[in-house]
């Protein structure tokens, strides 16, 4: 894992001092709320429905045990004992007091964490593959590049007042576990014929009111030019992105309205002018890469007798392995996902005690590393197969052993009207009701991989546009209503979900979801045809018929 040097530490410490001063000026009346708002937002501090809300970055989703313990400490000391892991590798606290936030940020700085640029019209927290460094299918670990981008984007003098927020995600495998095509810039690390690292750039993706899938703008940006090329993209956007209408201000609209070719030509022109100016010395790349050297895992037999025996004896463990455990690139090890989607808990929420437990497990069984996924779950990336059963036992005892990763009840869900100031409808209670309806794990496994994603308003924080089943809460004459969308994907086969038709009231939306699932089960071409594949084959019509025709 990366560790701050004195430069990084100073930057974060100085930021805390700066923010403390800003809070003081606000409290003393030297600043209006209007002036203060963008400043607090750039430190992750919102004002929500019930209270302030603090968003803390988990850059590219990597946490050490000590960092996780600090997150638990913040939850206990300054909040109400829990936190919410979001779809952008952040954690949100829902109850901090304004007057405490400088102290919270000072505590976080002690473990090299911060809320810098987790909101505001700037370059946001860089996200990545939660399996980075552990999965066999990557060309290299993407996280050094994420860290380089994190540093380059931190307090960027030119790009802190962009037309709108700017989100960058980086992956290094074909399989996309970070939804790069739904980011303002998505980067996939590739190698050229000579084995040199370079970057495939995707631009102009995003969700919100007008979802658009990113377009590929470059096949290969050489590594030394990564920051030059990113600077060129950002500069064109900052100069030309729309500022007349907040809903049209994202880069996706600029690229869409201008056309990729024209946008790309402007970027190329700027790129040619500035090539070589954003120096990224080879020695610096090597320095940052060294921090991400793979942990020294012993090469063990590919199968573990203890592990196989437990699977044989214990059906529940077998289920857990099936959904939550994935192969590691080093034989004899596994990537273990921890579901934050237990029954009756808001998706993504974890208590301070749970965070502490995960920290302990990371220390004992996962090389001190934890990952946070965009699907609002946690990951222990480097677990010995021999230990998986023990890990699972410990997780289970803390209500963290749910065997539902990728299944119907592993729902992505934004906070909705229970917390969010912008919401039109509640989302958490609907997610919980769906989880209850599909509580039978056997049934979930029989249904197979199915991603339900839900947002409480059109901003799409819950990724409903790219859910296999997407649910959007709307407000119709003061009543909560839920629109259903089908066939989206945020992965390498990205597609936007399509609306089924009229929305459903709260007491009918769960039935509607079940109808969709039952329809799929009736239509699928064998147990192996996933919901998404089936939908793509048969189209919307049979689902529409099942949902609306016998009404």
């Amino acid at each position: 894992m990366y560790r701050y040097d004195e430069f990084d530490q100073a930057a974060v410490d100085e930021r805390v001092v700066q923010f403390r001063g800003q809070v003081e000026r606000r409290l003393k009346g030297q600043m209006t709320e209007e002036q203060f708002k963008p400043l607090r937002l750039m430190n992750g501090l919102y004002l929500q429905l019930h209270a302030y809300m603090l968003r803390v970055a988990i850059p590219y989703g990597t946490l050490s045990a000590a960092q996780m313990r600090m997150l638990a400490h913040v939850a206990r000391k300054y909040d109400k004992g829990y936190g919410h892991f979001t779809t952008r590798q952040n954690i949100q606290y829902n109850w901090p007091r304004l007057v405490d936030t400088p102290d919270i940020l000072a505590d976080l700085a002690k473990v090299q964490m911060h809320g810098i640029q987790t909101s505001g019209n700037c370059i946001r927290n860089v996200t990545s593959d939660p399996f980075a460094g552990a999965t066999a299918d990557e060309v290299e670990d993407p996280r050094p590049w994420c860290e380089i981008i994190r540093q380059w984007s931190t307090f960027h003098p030119e790009f802190s007042y962009l037309p709108r927020k700017f989100k960058i995600a980086v992956i290094a495998s074909e399989q996309d576990r970070a939804a790069i095509r739904l980011h303002d810039i998505g980067i996939r690390i590739v190698k050229d014929a000579a084995g040199e690292t370079g970057f495939e750039f995707w631009i102009g993706g995003g969700m919100g009111r007008t979802p658009i899938i990113a377009k590929k703008i470059r096949d290969f940006v050489p590594k030394a030019e990564l920051l030059d090329y990113a600077t060129a993209c950002l500069r064109v956007y900052n100069a030309l992105g729309r500022r007349d209408n907040i809903y049209k201000a994202r880069i996706k609209i600029l690229v869409h309205e201008m056309g990729l070719d024209k946008f790309s030509a402007l970027v190329d022109e700027e790129f040619a002018r500035i090539k070589g100016t954003v120096a990224l010395p080879e020695a610096e790349i090597a320095r940052i890469r060294a921090y991400f050297a793979p942990p020294e895992l012993p090469v063990l037999p590919a199968t573990s007798t203890a592990f196989e025996a437990k699977k044989f004896e214990d059906r529940a463990f077998r289920d857990f392995v099936r959904s939550n455990v994935r192969p590691h690139k080093v034989p004899g090890h596994a990537i273990v996902s921890i579901s934050l989607k237990a029954d009756g808990i808001a998706p993504g929420d974890a208590t301070a005690e749970q965070m502490d437990l995960v920290a302990d497990l990371a220390e004992r069984h996962s090389q001190n590393e934890i990952r946070v996924t965009h699907e609002q779950n946690l990951v222990l990336p480097h677990v010995r197969l021999d230990d998986v059963h023990d890990v699972w036992q410990a997780l289970k005892a803390a209500s963290l052993g749910t065997a539902n990763i990728g299944l119907v009840s592993d729902i992505i869900c934004c906070p909705g009207l229970d917390y969010c100031d912008l919401a039109n409808a509640r989302s958490i209670p609907v997610a919980e009701a769906i989880q209850r309806r599909f509580a039978d794990l056997e049934r979930q496994h029989a249904i197979g991989g199915l991603k339900i994603k839900m947002s409480g308003c059109i901003n799409a924080c819950g990724h409903h546009h790219v859910g296999h089943i997407g649910i959007l809460g709307v407000d119709k004459h003061g009543q909560e209503l839920y629109q259903l969308q089908l066939g989206g994907s945020g992965a390498e086969d990205a597609s936007l979900a399509k609306l089924t038709g009229a929305g459903f009231p709260p007491d009918r939306i769960v039935d509607a979801v079940e109808t969709v699932v039952e329809t799929y089960l009736g239509l699928r071409d064998g147990d192996d045809e996933s919901f998404l594949a089936c939908f793509r084959r048969v189209g919307m019509a049979p689902f529409k018929a099942a949902l609306y025709e016998d009404r």
Partner: protein, 162 residues
């Protein structure tokens, strides 16, 4: 209004002249881009210092060839959220190697000053009660930076390697 340069108020020798107003005889004036375009020849030939005022949607590239004639380019920040001026300042300094004064005016906030300085703004036109403390803080708030900027200071990426 006061003019602040290097953290201290300085005398303003410039007059902003509206598009309809008559040009004073001699004397340093700042005119809008529209006026400059309409009266280019007369203004270029005028025997007095000339400054240009650019609205936030007017890139310096629009007057690239004539930039050498201006001693001041004043960038408007109509609302603090409008960040185009940062890019325009960088373009002035880097792409066009503009050496004259780059002045920020309009909705400039305390905490934006460090960024503006780094982008090449060297002069600020602010309200009379704008605290000078802000300019002091701007110089000390961050001891290093990760990105190259118009000040030419070495970045953290570079400093780490001697």
């Amino acid at each position: 209004m006061k003019i602040v340069k290097e953290g201290a108020p300085v005398a303003d020798t410039w007059t902003h002249v509206g598009d309809e107003a008559e040009l004073p005889d001699g004397g340093a004036v700042i005119v809008s881009l529209a006026r400059f375009k309409a009266e280019r020849d007369a203004l270029m030939g005028r025997n007095a210092p000339l400054g240009l005022r650019l609205a936030s949607h007017e890139p310096p590239a629009d007057v690239a060839e004539d930039l050498g004639r201006f001693e001041v380019v004043a960038l408007e920040f109509p609302v603090f959220r409008d960040g185009r001026g940062y890019t325009h300042a960088v373009q002035l300094r880097q792409r066009f190697a503009y050496r004259g004064e780059v002045r920020a005016l309009g909705d400039v906030l305390w905490d934006q000053i460090p960024h503006m300085l780094r982008c090449g703004v060297d002069t600020f036109e602010v309200a009379d009660d704008f605290p000078l403390e802000a300019f002091e803080e701007a110089r000390t708030v961050f001891s290093n930076h990760y990105q190259p900027d118009t000040t030419g200071r070495r970045t953290v990426f570079e400093l780490r390697h001697g």
